[in-house]
């Protein structure tokens, strides 16, 4: 308990360091582009693949569960759309990226810590926390909403494909359903949540990597911990945001 409080304190101090006195802006710009490529573009494929299957699976599941002659078939489309928008494409994508990018950020920074590269930055007169973590935060906060939107689109496509190929509901019902009473606000809500998760992943993973002490084993532990803690924080934040915004 005491250790958890100490960690929260250290986390806040680190955030303060990250957002203070950046050096040359041009360098940060270049770093951010690199991180966008690593953690953004590099994650699109996995998100596309997973979202297609999940969109298809939700479509089949929903159809199976509400097989009721009194309900119109297009309800399946509505449900698929809203499940993707409200939970899957933000929270599930958040959890997946926490696993993928969170562990890589924590081990990259952790390895730099144990090989004294962070000390080297500091002795050069650079603020290592800002230099290493800020570009990752910016990249994640910018790109998570994009991944979320891609996931929604591809998920809907997965549902469409399964209607087309399989014998689920007529394609026309599906198309009608996914357009039925659509609140554009849901999309911005999902993208907002994704941005918050991006912030959580980058800072929590950065935190655990930055404070590694020891060697390769500790780096491994830090990266596991980064994934676990950021996942828990994502689920918790999801609860809080959902409560505040949807009610």
């Amino acid at each position: 308990m005491l250790k958890a409080l100490a960690n929260i304190g250290k986390y806040i101090v680190l955030l303060k360091n990250i957002f203070s006195r950046p050096e040359k802006a041009s360098i940060y710009y270049r770093q951010t582009l690199r991180e966008l490529e690593n953690h953004g573009i590099g994650s699109i494929w996995i998100i596309v693949v997973i979202s297609v299957f999940v969109g298809a699976a939700i479509t089949i599941q929903t159809n199976f569960n509400i097989e009721n002659p009194w309900l119109p078939r297009y309800i399946v489309g509505v449900t698929v759309r809203d499940s993707l928008l409200l939970e899957f494409s933000s929270t599930m994508v958040g959890l997946m990226i926490a696993g993928k990018s969170g562990s890589s950020i924590a081990s990259e920074i952790g390895m730099m810590r144990v090989t004294e590269q962070i000390d080297a930055l500091e002795v050069m007169g650079i603020n290592p926390a800002a230099f290493l973590i800020l570009p990752k935060i910016i990249a994640m906060v910018l790109f998570m909403p994009v991944l979320c939107a891609v996931s929604v689109a591809v998920g809907l496509l997965g549902g469409y494909l399964v209607c087309l190929i399989g014998d689920v509901i007529p394609v026309s019902d599906y198309i009608y359903g996914i357009q039925y009473i659509f609140y554009p606000y849901y999309l911005s809500y999902a993208m907002f949540k994704a941005a918050v998760y991006g912030f959580i992943i980058a800072t929590v993973a950065g935190f655990y990597g930055y404070h590694v002490q020891g060697g390769a084993i500790q780096v491994g532990k830090a990266s596991t911990r980064a994934v676990v803690i950021s996942s828990v924080m994502i689920l918790f934040t999801n609860l809080v945001i959902t409560n505040i915004i949807l009610h």
Binding site: R21, I27, Q117, A120, V123, M124, G125, N127
Partner: protein, 249 residues
């Protein structure tokens, strides 16, 4: 000149540095020697502010480092170059980018001017045609030399080297020592070197400080080292029985 006064540093409740006071002089290679675990690395890290000290003062040419605010420390650090024991090269950057890194961060020169500085730094440490290689593709000694090139590329006023030749063969070790000495004289800077290698003490130790169990036990020149009657230092310098016999003969 770097002046340390009454430095204390403890981890939990064991003092690792115990009342260390010493002047490191400009234009000289100042060597800190001592057995493993005596506190050399802790002292060096304390001097550059990677570790906070509990008590004492550290002055860089009359600028009190301990009392500085973080931004002021950051500015002073731009005058420092440091060679870490493992080199600490950035492994995502190639050799040229590694050496150019401090320039990219702090100077507004054009690329071609920076490239010239990088090439002449690498030349200085005797490396050619490695610009495009990654650190993982170099040998240990080459990495150390790249790290030296990076440390000197901004022409620092203060150069710190933590065990520059540990893990190197005697010939490469001598080359690196000679290089450090040369740089110190050419740029007339204050150089501090951690070492437990007697060869380098006798090669380059303009001023030698012997650390024993976290305290300064002895100081003098490389000539004095061989003729001291300080028992702890004698035990350190003439550790092997052969060396003892030589001294007694």
């Amino acid at each position: 000149m770097i002046r340390l006064e009454n430095i204390y540093k403890r981890f939990e409740d064991t003092y690792v540095l115990n009342d260390v006071s010493v002047d490191f002089e400009k234009g000289k290679c100042n060597l800190i020697i001592g057995s493993s675990g005596s506190g050399k690395t802790v002292l060096m890290k304390a001097m550059v502010g990677l570790l906070d000290i509990d008590r004492g003062s550290i002055c860089y040419d009359d600028r009190d480092f301990v009392k500085m605010s973080p931004p002021e420390k950051q500015d002073l650090r731009k005058e420092m170059g440091m060679l870490f024991q493992g080199g600490a090269l950035f492994d995502s950057l190639n050799i040229e980018e590694n050496v150019m890194f401090p320039l990219n961060m702090f100077s507004r020169e054009s690329y071609s001017r920076k490239k010239n500085l990088v090439d002449s730094s690498l030349e200085r440490v005797g490396l050619r045609d490695v610009n495009r290689k990654m650190p993982a593709e170099l040998s240990g000694g080459m990495k150390k030399r790249v790290a030296i090139a990076r440390a000197i590329v901004l022409s620092p006023n203060y150069l710190f080297c933590d065990e520059p030749n540990s893990g190197l063969d005697p010939k490469t070790a001598i080359k690196i020592d000679a290089l450090i000495k040369e740089i110190t004289l050419d740029y007339n800077i204050t150089t501090v070197v951690n070492s437990h290698d007697m060869n380098s003490v006798l090669e380059i130790g303009d001023k030698v400080i012997y650390i024993y169990q976290g305290g300064k036990c002895w100081e003098g020149t490389k000539e004095d080292v061989l003729h001291t009657d300080n028992e702890a230092l004698n035990n350190f310098v003439f550790a092997t029985s052969m060396a003892k016999q030589l001294k007694n003969s």
